[in-house]
Amino acid sequence: MSSFLFYTVNGLVLGSTYALTSIGYSMVYGILELVNFTHSTVYMVGAYLFYILAVVAGLPMWAAFLLAVFMTGLIGVLYERLTLRPLRVRHQPKFAMLICTIGTSIVLQNIFFLTMGSETHQYPSLFEGHYLRVGGFNITAVQLVIIVATAVLLLAFTLFINHTRVGMAMQACAQDGEAAGLMGISVDNIVSLTFFIGSAMAAVAGVMGCMSYRSVDISIGTAIGTKTFASTVLGGIGVFYGGVVGGLVIGLTEVYTAAYLGSNYRNIPAFLILILILFLKPNGLFGKKTLKKV
C-alpha cells in the first residue's frame, strides 16, 4: 500500500509537467487550430536554458529560473512571428504551418545539440537531501515543490483567462478569430501572447521535470511530445482544465504501468489512451461538441 502511495506521488509529479505543457498545445490549437510540433521541443529548450544559466553561467537559481522562463517565452513569440504569422495572415493551408512547426522543432533541437552535445548532463535541484517521511516512504522536497507550484500556476492561469480583459480577449479569439478582430481585438498580439504564455509554461514544466529526474539531455522534448498530446486530447483540446486532468491521468497510468507491468511498457498506455479516446470520444472528456457550419 505504501508503495502504491509512493507511485501515486511520482505519477502526480510527472503528470504536473504534462499538465503544464499541455496548456500550450491546447491554447495554440484553440486559436490557430494547429497542432504545434515545436511545443515539445520548447520544453527541452526551457530546461536547457535554465541549465546553461544556472550551471554554466553560474547565476543564482531564482534568477536563472526567471530568466530561462522569460527567454523561452520570447523564443515562442519569435518562431511564431517568423515562421507561422506570414502563412497565417495569407490564409495559407494548415499543412504548410504544420511542417513549419516541425522544421522549427528540428532547428531548435539541433542548435542545442551543436552547442551542448548529445550527452546527458547532471541537473541542479532544489533542497537536496530534504524529504518528508510519510507512512514509510519518502517524498522529496522538490516533488512537493513541483506539485504545489503547478497548482499555483494553474490557479493563476485560470484567474488570468477568466477575469482579465486580455484573458477574455484570448477566449474570444479562440471562439472566432475574425469576429474578435472586428471587435477591435488585435489578433496578432493575442497570438503572440498565447505563444509566450504557452512556451513559458512549457519552460517551467521542463525545469521542474528535469529537477525531479536530476538529468537533462537533447531527447527529453521528443520523449514527452506524444504523451502531452495524449493528455491534451484526453481532456479535450482547447479546454485548459481538461488538459490538466488529462496530464495527471497519463502521468499516473505511466508510473503505475512502469511499476506493475515493467518499465518496458511505460510508454504504451499513453498511446493506447490517445487512440481509444480519439475513436470513442474525439472531443475529449470535457470537450464541447462543435457544430460544423455550412
Binding site: G103, T226, Y265, N267, L274, I275
Partner: protein, 333 residues
C-alpha cells in the same frame, strides 16, 4: 490528318520519352553510391505518391505513413524468412496486410477532422514502432531482422545496385500509373470533391467516409509495398527506420510537391532525398540545415517574395536605383 497530329502530340509522347530516359539512365551510372541514392529516390517516390492520394488529393493529413511502410517491410521480411516464399508473393502480402491495417485504423480515424486526425496518426505511428520494438519474439525488437533474402527471378538473385534500381523503378512506374489512373477515375474525382468541400460532396451523393477509408487503405497498401522493396534491398531492417520523423519527411514531400500533384511528389521526393545526401559532408550541421530548408521551402512556396520584409527592402532598393537613373537621364536632357 487529325489523327496523325494527335499521335505526335507532345503531351502523349513526353511521358514515354521520360520513361525511356529513366530506363536508359542507370546504364550510364557506374558509381555504386549514386545507384544506391537512386534506389532510395524510387522507394521514397512510391511513399510520397501513395501519401499524396490521401493527403494531397483528398486533404486528410496523415502523419503515420511510415507505420504502414514498416508493417509492409516487416511482413515481407518475416514471410520470406520463415516460409521462404518468392519475393513477388512477399510484396503482395506486404501490400495486402498494410492495406488491411490501413482499413482497420482508417475506419475510425477518418471520422476525425483536421488536427485530431494528425494527432491520431502520430499516435498510431508511435504505437507501431513500440510494438515492433517490444514484440521481441517475432520482430527481434531493437536488434531488427537480418539476412532477409534477395529477390529472385527465375532462379537468379538480384544483387547489383543497377538491377535493384531497375526493380525499384519498375515498381515505382507501376504504382505511379495505377495511382494516376485512380486519380482520373470517378473515385479520384470524388476524392477531390471531398477535399474541396466535404459537406457539398456528401450532398452530391458521395459516400464521404467510405471513399476516404478506401483511399487510406490504398495508400497504406502501396506504402507497404515500398516497405517490402526496402526490406529486400537493405537485407536488414529495424524499428528505427519507421519512426514518426520519417512520416514527417514523407508528408513534407507531398506538401512541397504541391498537394495532389503526382509529378510534384516525385520531384519533391527526389529533392528531399538528394539534398540530405549531398549535405552528408557537413555531418553535424546536416539536420540543422534540413530543418531550415523545410521552413524556407514552406515559406518560399506559399508567400510571394515581394511581400516579405527582405523582398520589400529589395523592391525599395530597386525603386531607388530606378529613380536615381531617371534623374540622371533628366539631367542629361
Amino acid at each position: 490528318m487529325q489523327r496523325n497530329k494527335r499521335f505526335f502530340d507532345l503531351k502523349r509522347i513526353l511521358p514515354l520519352l521520360l520513361a525511356a530516359a529513366m530506363y536508359a539512365a542507370p546504364l550510364a551510372i557506374t558509381n555504386q553510391y549514386v545507384l544506391r541514392v537512386c534506389v532510395y529516390v524510387s522507394i521514397y517516390s512510391i511513399l510520397a505518391c501513395s501519401l499524396n492520394l490521401i493527403s494531397g488529393v483528398c486533404g486528410q493529413v496523415s502523419m503515420g505513413h511510415a507505420a504502414f511502410y514498416g508493417v509492409g517491410a516487416y511482413t515481407s521480411a518475416l514471410i520470406a524468412l520463415s516460409f521462404g516464399l518468392p519475393w513477388p508473393i512477399c510484396l503482395l502480402a506486404a501490400g495486402v496486410l498494410s492495406a488491411l491495417v490501413g482499413l482497420l485504423i482508417g475506419t475510425p480515424a477518418l471520422r476525425l477532422q483536421g488536427g485530431y486526425l494528425v494527432i491520431c496518426t502520430v499516435g498510431f505511428n508511435e504505437l507501431v514502432r513500440l510494438i515492433l520494438l517490444n514484440w521481441v519474439s517475432v520482430t527481434r525488437g531493437p536488434m531488427g531482422l537480418t539476412n532477409i533474402p534477395r529477390p529472385r527471378f527465375f532462379g537468379v538473385a538480384i544483387h547489383s545496385g543497377r538491377q535493384y534500381l531497375y526493380l525499384s523503378m519498375t515498381l515505382l512506374l507501376i504504382v505511379y500509373i495505377t495511382l494516376r489512373n485512380i486519380l482520373h477515375s470517378r473515385f479520384g474525382r470524388n476524392l477531390r470533391a471531398i477535399k474541396e468541400d466535404e459537406t457539398a460532396a456528401e450532398t452530391m451523393g458521395i459516400r464521404v467516409h467510405r471513399e476516404k477509408v478506401t483511399a487510406f487503405a490504398i495508400a497504406a497498401g502501396f506504402a507497404g509495398m515500398a516497405g517490402s522493396m526496402l526490406a529486400h534491398y537493405m537485407l536488414y531492417i529495424n524499428p528505427n527506420l519507421f519512426i514518426g520523423d520519417f512520416s514527417t519527411t514523407i508528408l513534407s514531400m507531398v506538401v512541397l510537391g504541391g498537394m495532389g500533384s503526382m509529378p510534384g511528389s516525385v520531384a519533391a521526393a527526389t529533392l528531399l532525398t538528394v539534398i540530405p545526401e549531398a549535405l552528408r559532408e557537413l555531418d553535424r550541421y546536416r539536420m540543422l540545415i534540413y530543418g531550415l530548408m523545410l521552413i524556407c521551402m514552406m515559406l518560399g512556396k506559399n508567400i510571394p517574395w515581394d511581400t516579405t520584409p527582405l523582398g520589400r527592402a529589395a523592391a525599395r532598393l530597386r525603386g531607388r536605383v530606378k529613380i536615381a537613373r531617371e534623374s540622371e537621364h533628366g539631367g542629361k536632357d
